[in-house]
C-alpha cells in the first residue's frame, strides 16, 4: 500500500546537499565554532597522546623538591622544601642487635649479598620545575596533562552514555506514549526522587572502585534531565506533518524515531551533551574529593583541585591554576562548540 514507486530513470539533476553536509558548511563559516573545535581537538589529541604514553609518561616521577617553584619564580622562598630538623630528638646510638631472636637470622648473609646487588639511584631534585611542583615534587604541568586523560575521558564517555540512555528512553516515551511512557516516567521518578549526590554515593558504595565504575555511576545517574527534554521534543514532533509523511511512505517506527525525528531534536541533545560533559568533569571532582573517585596512584583534575585547596593557603597556587585553567578552557570551548553545532544543525536556520 505504501510501496515506493520504482524510479527507473532518475533525471540528471543536482544532488541536494544532506543535513550533515549543510551543517558542516555552516559550521565552517562560524569562526568561533572553528576555534573551539580546534581547542577541543587539541585537548583530545593531548589526551590520546598521554594515553599512548607519548607525553607526561613519567608524571609520577618526583623530579623537584617539595612544592618546587615554577621556573618564572625561581628566586622565591620555598618554606616547604626547607629542611627543618627536630634536633632535640636525634640520636647517634648504635642499632640494637636482633640476630639472636630473628627468624630471618639464618639467611642474614644471603640477604646482605642480594641487597648489595640491587642498585638504588638517588635522584637529583630540581629547585624549580617549568610550571612548579606539588608536595611530592612532581611536575604540575605533567600532572595536568595526565589528569586530562582521566577527566576528559570520564566526562566525555559518561556524558555520551548518559545522553544515549536519555535519548533512547526519551524517544521511546515520547514517541510511543501510553504504557511505555507511563512505565518510563515511573522509572524516571524513582531516579529523580533520590538526591543526586546521594544516588552517586549509593552507586559508588555498591560498585567496585575504578575508573569504569565512575563512568557507569555518572551515566546511570545523569540521564534523567536529558530524558525529559528528549521526551518533550518527541511528543512535539510526533504529530508533525513530516513524520506523518514518513509514515505514509512506509518508514518503520525505528526509522521515524531515529532517522526523521532525531536530527530535528539533535540540537537539544547536543547542548545537553555539552552541559553534561561539564557537569560530569565536576562530578568526578566531587567523587575524587570524597575518596570514591580515582585511585591514589592516578591523577585527575578533580584530585588536583582537592589537593590545591590546602595549598592555596600556603601560597602554592600553581596546581590550582594548572588544573583550573585546563578545565576552564576545555569547558568553555566545549560549550561554545556545541552552541555552534546547535546553530549549524538547527533545521529552521536553513
Amino acid at each position: 500500500m505504501s510501496a515506493v514507486l520504482p524510479n527507473n530513470a532518475p533525471p540528471a539533476m543536482q544532488e541536494s546537499p544532506g543535513l550533515w553536509t549543510l551543517a558542516w558548511r555552516r559550521l565552517l563559516n562560524d569562526r568561533v565554532g572553528m576555534v573551539c573545535l580546534a581547542i577541543v581537538a587539541t585537548y583530545l589529541a593531548m589526551m590520546l597522546a598521554s594515553y599512548a604514553g607519548i607525553v607526561a609518561r613519567d608524571w609520577n616521577k618526583e623530579k623537584g623538591v617539595s612544592y618546587a617553584n615554577p621556573s618564572f619564580m625561581a628566586g622565591a622562598e620555598n618554606l616547604e622544601a626547607r629542611e627543618v630538623t627536630n634536633k632535640d630528638f636525634g640520636s647517634k646510638a648504635k642499632p640494637v642487635d636482633l640476630s639472636d631472636i630473628d627468624p630471618l637470622a639464618p639467611r642474614y648473609k644471603e640477604w646482605e649479598e642480594r641487597a648489595a646487588k640491587i642498585a638504588v639511584t638517588e635522584v637529583k631534585r630540581a629547585e624549580t620545575l617549568p610550571f612548579g611542583g606539588d608536595k611530592w615534587g612532581r611536575d604540575v604541568l605533567e600532572k595536568a596533562i595526565k589528569g586530562s586523560e582521566v577527566s576528559i575521558f570520564v566526562g566525555l564517555t559518561a556524558a555520551l552514555f548518559a545522553t544515549l540512555i536519555g535519548t533512547v528512553l526519551g524517544a521511546m516515551a515520547g514517541y510511543w506514549g501510553g504504557r511505555v511512557n507511563d512505565f518510563l516516567e515511573w522509572f524516571y521518578n524513582i531516579f529523580t526522587s533520590i538526591p543526586y549526590i546521594l544516588l552517586i554515593l549509593a552507586f559508588a558504595a555498591v560498585f567496585k572502585r575504578g575508573l569504569d565504575t565512575i563512568i557507569v555511576i555518572l551515566a546511570l545517574t545523569g540521564w534523567t534531565g536529558i530524558y525529559r527534554l528528549v521526551r518533550a521534543e518527541y511528543i512535539k514532533h510526533c504529530g508533525r506533518e513530516y513524520v506523518k509523511a514518513a509514515q505514509a511512505i512506509g518508514a518503520s517506527h525505528l526509522s521515524r524515531m531515529f532517522v526523521h525525528i532525531l536530527p530535528n531534536a539533535s540540537h537539544v541533545i547536543l547542548v545537553q551533551l555539552s552541559q553534561h560533559v561539564v557537569s560530569f568533569i565536576k562530578a568526578e571532582v566531587i567523587l575524587s574529593f570524597l575518596g570514591l573517585g580515582v585511585p591514589v596512584d592516578m591523577v585527575s583534575w578533580g584530585t588536583m583541585l582537592a589537593e590545591a585547596q590546602n595549598e592555596l593557603v600556603i601560597g602554592k597556587w600553581w596546581q590550582l591554576f594548572a588544573a583550573g585553567a585546563s578545565m576552564a578552557i576545555l569547558v568553555t570551548a566545549f560549550s561554545m562548540l556545541t552552541d555552534s553545532l546547535r546553530d549549524a544543525l538547527d533545521p529552521k536556520l536553513k
Binding site: V96, L98, P103, A115, G291
Partner: protein
C-alpha cells in the same frame, strides 16, 4: 507569615551549623575536634575524642596536678591519696562526702550524692559482657575474685552486680577497697583514667539502658546540654559541681605554666559558662575558623598549615602580633600501621610471612611521611613507646625499622615473592616452579580525608617501588574501627595516645590476650606475653627497662606493625583564651580554661 515560619527552622539550623559569635555576658569556649565523637559512656569508648569529652563530665578518684611537670597525681574525689598497703596490693580509698551528681530525671528530683558504691559499680561495668568494654583488658587478671565474676558473667551473659568480690568492694558509704593479685605499679594511674574509673550512677544506667551513651550524667564540672552527632556538642557547667579552686604547681622555670597560675589561681572552677565543641574534619575550615576568631583554641595545628602558623617551628610573626600563644609538645603517643596477624597473606609467624612484613616495613619511607605529609611536625618512631612515657629510650635504634628499599627487595626475592605471571606485581611464594602463580594485593584501610591522602600516596608509591600491589579500602573511621575489632582488616593505620604515662600503655596493644580489644593486629607471641606479664610486676627501674627493651626487640623481628611517628602537637590559643596547657595524659582540661572578656571584646571590635 507562612514563609517566615518555614524559614525560621532553616535559619536556626544554619545558626547551629556555624560557630556563633560570643553571646553577650556568658563566657563561651569554642573549639573543634578533627574526628567525630562516638558516645559518652565511659565503659564503651576507646577513641581519643570521646575520651576527651567524658573526662570533663565524669570524675575519676584521682587526677593530675594540671601544671606540675613531671606529672603528679593528686586526689580528685577522694579525701586523700589512696592508702596502699600489703606490698602494694591493697588500695583503700575514701571518697569525699558532699559531692553530687548533676540533676537528671533518673534521680526523680532528688539530689544524688557520690558514694564508694558508685566507683565499685562503675568499675564492675567493665566486666559486664554486654557492655563489650574496650578497656576490660586493663583489669583482667588484676583484682582478686573478679576473674571468677567475669567468667560467670560470660557464661550467663549477664553481670551480677550484687555479687561482692574480695578484690573490689565498698566497705562503707564512702570507702572502697581494691585488692590486686600482684603488685601493679601502674594501678594508681588507672585511678586517674576516666575511661576506666570514672563514676557513673547506677540509676542513670538503668533508666536509660541502651541509650546511656547519649545521657552522660556525672559529678564533673560540665554536663551535656546539646548534642548533634558528629557535628556539634554544647556543654554547660554542672550546677551541682563541688567547690573546686584553681591550683597547680608548675616548675619555677615554666613561664607558660607560671603565667596561667598567676592569672587563675584561687578562682572557682569551671571558669567558662559554656563549652562548644564542633566536629570539623577537614583541616582547612578548622584552620580558617581559628584565624577568623570563630574558635578560641586550635587543638593541633593541621600539618598542612605548619609552615604558615609556625615556620621553622616558631610562631609566625602575624600570629604573634595578634597575641596568639603557641605550645609545642611531643605527644606521648604513636602512629602505626598494623598487619592483621590472622590474615592469610600478611599474618602468621613462619619465616616467609615474617619476611613479607619486614620487607614492607623496610620499604616504607617514614622519613618522607615526616617531611612531606607531616611537615616535620613529627619524629620517626623507633620503638612502640611514646616519648616521655616511663620506659621510653630516646636512644633505641634498629636496622629493622629503617627505610631501605634495596634490603626490602632482596628480602622479598629471597623468600620467593617474585613476579611470576609477568603483570609487574610480585606474587606469593610457590612450593615449586610448576605451581600456579598466586597474585596478591594488600588492602590498606584508610578514612577519606585530606590528611590521609598524602599518607596513602606515600604508601602507594613506596609499595610500587618494591613491586607490591597495594589497594586502599575507604570507609569512615568509626566503621573501620568496627571492622578492625571484628578482625576484618588486612592493614590499617592508627594513632594511639597514652592514657597512663608508662610503656605499658603501648605494649597493651601487643599483648596476645588483648586481641580484638586494644591489640588490633592480634599479635600473639608467648615469649612476648610472658615478658609483658613480668614487667607488670616490677616497679619502674633498670630491671623493668631491660624487659621493655627485650619486648621491643621481639616486636621488631616479628613486625606486627609498621611503626610510624610520634607527632609533635602545636596548640594555638587566642589572646583571650587563658589556661590551656597540654598535659601528656590528663584529658579533661575545660574547667581550667578561661575567656578574658575585655581582650575578646577588643579583638572583635
Amino acid at each position: 507569615m507562612k514563609l517566615a515560619s518555614l524559614l525560621a527552622p532553616l535559619a536556626a539550623a544554619l545558626l547551629l551549623a556555624m560557630p556563633a559569635a560570643h553571646a553577650a555576658g556568658g563566657k563561651v569556649f569554642r573549639y573543634a575536634f578533627e574526628i567525630a565523637e562516638t558516645g559518652f559512656d565511659p565503659v564503651e569508648i576507646s577513641d581519643l575524642y570521646s575520651s576527651n569529652v567524658i573526662a570533663n563530665i565524669f570524675d575519676p578518684p584521682l587526677t593530675y596536678d594540671y601544671l606540675a611537670r613531671p606529672i603528679k597525681l593528686i586526689p580528685n574525689t577522694l579525701a586523700a591519696m589512696p592508702e596502699v598497703t600489703e606490698n602494694g596490693t591493697l588500695y583503700t580509698m575514701r571518697v569525699r562526702p558532699g559531692i553530687y551528681f548533676a540533676d537528671d530525671e533518673a534521680f526523680k528530683g532528688a539530689k544524688r550524692e557520690l558514694t564508694a558504691h558508685d566507683y565499685v559499680y562503675s568499675i564492675k561495668r567493665h566486666f559486664d559482657p554486654r557492655k563489650r568494654s574496650p578497656n576490660l583488658y586493663q583489669f583482667e587478671g588484676q583484682m582478686v575474685g573478679m576473674d571468677e565474676v567475669l567468667a560467670d558473667a560470660r557464661k550467663n551473659n549477664r553481670m551480677d552486680y550484687e555479687r561482692v568480690a574480695e578484690g573490689l568492694r565498698a566497705l562503707d558509704r564512702y570507702t572502697f577497697q581494691i585488692r590486686l593479685k600482684q603488685p601493679n605499679y601502674n594501678f594508681l594511674y588507672y585511678l586517674a583514667y576516666c575511661n576506666l574509673t570514672c563514676a557513673v550512677a547506677r540509676e542513670v544506667v538503668e533508666h536509660y539502658g541502651d541509650r546511656t551513651a547519649e545521657h552522660p550524667v556525672g559529678t564533673g564540672p560540665f554536663r551535656l546540654a546539646f548534642w548533634k552527632r558528629s557535628s556539634k556538642m554544647v556543654f554547660e557547667p554542672n550546677p551541682n559541681y563541688r567547690e573546686d579552686l584553681f591550683d597547680g604547681t608548675p616548675p619555677a622555670d615554666d613561664a607558660a605554666g607560671q603565667f596561667i597560675l598567676s592569672r587563675l589561681k584561687g578562682k572557682r572552677l569551671p571558669l567558662v559558662d559554656k563549652v562548644e565543641v564542633y566536629v570539623i574534619e577537614e583541616p582547612q575550615p578548622r584552620w580558617l575558623a581559628f584565624l577568623n576568631n570563630e574558635l578560641d583554641f586550635l587543638e593541633r595545628v593541621p600539618n598542612e598549615f605548619a609552615n604558615v602558623a609556625t615556620p621553622n617551628n616558631e610562631l609566625a610573626p602575624n600570629l604573634r602580633k595578634r597575641g596568639v600563644r603557641m605550645e609545642r609538645t611531643a605527644g606521648m603517643e604513636l602512629t602505626y600501621s598494623y598487619f592483621g596477624m590472622k590474615d592469610p597473606v600478611v599474618g602468621g609467624y613462619e619465616p616467609e610471612k615474617v619476611a613479607l612484613r619486614r620487607a614492607i616495613v623496610l620499604g616504607q619511607d617514614v622519613g618522607a611521611e615526616v617531611r612531606i605529609a607531616r611537615k616535620n611536625q613529627a619524629i620517626t618512631a623507633h620503638s612502640p613507646i611514646g616519648p616521655g612515657a616511663l620506659g621510653y629510650d630516646p636512644d633505641f635504634r634498629s636496622t629493622a625499622t629503617e627505610y631501605d628499599p634495596a634490603k626490602s627487595k632482596a628480602l622479598l626475592d629471597m623468600y620467593g615473592y617474585v613476579d611470576c605471571n609477568g603483570d609487574g606485581w610480585r606474587d606469593l611464594p610457590r612450593k615449586s616452579a610448576a605451581d600456579e602463580c598466586k597474585p596478591f594485593t594488600i588492602e590498606y584501610a584508610s578514612a577519606p580525608s585530606a590528611q590521609q591522602k598524602p599518607l596513602d600516596e606515600n604508601w602507594k608509591k613506596n609499595m610500587d617501588a618494591i613491586g607490591i600491589n597495594m589497594a586502599f579500602k575507604k570507609a569512615k573511621w568509626p566503621d573501620l574501627l568496627k571492622e578492625s575489632k571484628a578482625g576484618k582488616l588486612q592493614m590499617w593505620g592508627l594513632g594511639w595516645s597514652a592514657a597512663i604515662p608508662d610503656a605499658d600503655a603501648f605494649f597493651v596493644m601487643l599483648y596476645g590476650p588483648n586481641g580484638g580489644q586494644a591489640n588490633h593486629s592480634r599479635f600473639d607471641r608467648p615469649e612476648f606475653n610472658r615478658l609483658y606479664e613480668e614487667a607488670k610486676r616490677l616497679p619502674d627501674g633498670p630491671e623493668r627497662n631491660a624487659i621493655y627493651r627485650e619486648m621491643n626487640r621481639l616486636f621488631l623481628v616479628y613486625a606486627p606493625w609498621r611503626l610510624g611517628v610520634h607527632r609533635i602537637y602545636t596548640d594555638l590559643s587566642q589572646p583571650w583564651t587563658i589556661g590551656f596547657r597540654r598535659h601528656p595524659v590528663m584529658r579533661g582540661f575545660w574547667k581550667y580554661v578561661d575567656i578574658d572578656q575585655p581582650v575578646l571584646a577588643q579583638a572583635s571590635r
